[in-house]
Symmetry: C2
Subunit: 213 residues, 2 copies
C-alpha cells in the first residue's frame, strides 16, 4: 500500500466524495426550484444518475439532503461552554458568542438566503427536522453542563432555558428573512432582540456554572 493512496484516499474514496457531492448539488437545486416536498428521492436519484437507494445510503433521511452543517450546529452551544475562560459563566459565554455570531452574520444563527428560508418554511418535514437539531443541541449542552456541575436535573433545566432563548432568536431571524429583510437589517434588529432575551434570562442563570479560576 503506497502512502499516496492512504492520504488521498484512493480511487474508491474519490468516487465516493464525487457521488455524494453530485447528489447533494442536484438535490439542493431541485429543492429550490420546486420546493422540498415536490421533489421525490427518485427525482434526486434520476438527476444525479444513481439509484434511489444510493441517495438514501448517503443521506439516511431526505431532510439531510437540504440541511447541512448539522454536526457543527448541534455541537455549537456545548463547545462554546466547554471553551469558556475561567471566571465566566455558561450564560456569559453563550451571550458573548451570540453577539460575535451576529456581527459576522453566522449561518448557524439562521442567516440563510431568502430562497433557502422559504424552502424550510414551506416544508413541514424540514421544520420538524430543524427542531430535531435544536433538541440535539440542547441535549449536548445539558450533557456538558451535567459533566461539569454534577447536578443532572439542574443542568437539564439550565440547558432547556438557554436553548429556548437560542431557538427563539433563531426563529425570529428566519421570520425576518421571510419578511424580505436584508441580512444587515436583520443583524441590527436581532442585536436588540438578543440583548432583551438574554437580559430576561440573566437574573436566572447569570451566576450558574461559573468556571473556576
Amino acid at each position: 500500500m503506497t502512502t499516496t493512496q492512504a492520504v488521498t484516499g484512493g480511487l474508491r474514496e474519490l468516487k465516493k466524495q464525487q457521488t455524494r457531492q453530485a447528489i447533494s448539488d442536484h438535490a439542493t437545486r431541485l429543492f429550490i426550484e420546486r420546493g422540498f416536498d415536490k421533489v421525490t428521492i427518485a427525482d434526486v436519484a434520476a438527476a444525479a444518475q444513481v439509484a434511489k437507494m444510493t441517495v438514501t445510503n448517503y443521506f439516511p433521511r431526505k431532510e439531510d439532503l437540504a440541511l447541512d452543517h448539522q454536526d457543527e450546529f448541534v455541537a455549537s452551544l456545548a463547545r462554546t461552554v466547554a471553551a469558556r475562560p475561567a471566571g465566566e459563566s455558561a450564560f456569559g459565554a453563550l451571550r458573548a458568542a451570540y453577539r460575535g455570531a451576529i456581527a459576522r452574520q453566522d449561518p448557524v444563527l439562521g442567516f440563510s438566503g431568502p430562497t433557502f428560508a422559504r424552502m424550510i418554511a414551506d416544508s413541514p418535514a424540514l421544520t420538524a427536522r430543524l427542531r430535531d437539531f435544536h433538541d440535539l443541541r440542547e441535549q449536548a449542552l445539558a450533557g456538558e453542563l451535567a459533566r461539569e456541575t454534577g447536578d443532572v436535573v439542574r443542568a437539564r433545566v439550565a440547558a432547556a432555558l438557554l436553548a429556548a432563548v437560542h431557538r427563539t432568536l433563531f426563529e425570529e431571524t428566519l421570520r425576518r428573512t421571510l419578511d424580505g429583510r436584508t441580512n444587515p437589517e436583520i443583524a441590527a434588529a436581532l442585536a436588540v432582540s438578543t440583548e432583551e432575551a438574554f437580559a430576561v434570562l440573566e437574573p436566572a442563570l447569570g451566576d450558574y456554572a461559573v468556571r473556576e479560576v
Copy 2:
C-alpha cells in the same frame, strides 16, 4: 330538529362515538402488546373490524391513535394563564397549577402507566409527535401572552422559557416512570424538582405579565 337529538346526538352520533372508541381501544391494546412501530394501520382496522380508511379518517396520523387528550394538553398552559386571578403573574399561575397537578398526579404532567411510557419511549414517531404537542403548547402560551402584553417577541421568549421548564419536568417524570418508580414516588421527587426548576426561573419571570387588579 328536536332538542334532544341535538344534545344527545342521535343514533348516528352514538355509533360514530362507538366506532371511534373501538378503534382507539383496539389500537392501544395492540400497541402495548407489540409496540407502536410493529403495528400497522391495517392491523388496527382488522382488529376493530373496520376499513383501513375509516381508521385514518378518525385519526389522520397514526400517532394520534396512541396519544390522547391532545387538545387539553396543548391548551393547558394558555388556559391557566388566561384564568389567573388579578395580581398574579403568568409565572405564578403556572407554578401554582403545576403544584396542584402534581398533587392529583395529573396525566397531563406525564403520569402514565409504565407500559404506556415504554410504548412512547420505544417509538421515535411517538416521541417526535409528543414534541409537536410541547411545541404547540408553547405557541398557544406565546399567543396568549402576546395578546395580553402586546410585545410579541418578549412573549415568545417568556413562553419558550416557561414551556422549557414544563417540558423538562415532563421528561423527568417519564424518565422516572421508565425507571420503575411508582406514581407516588415520582410525585414526591417531582415536587422537589419542580420547586428547583421554578426557583431558577422566578428571578427572570416572577414579575412578568402580572394581571392588573
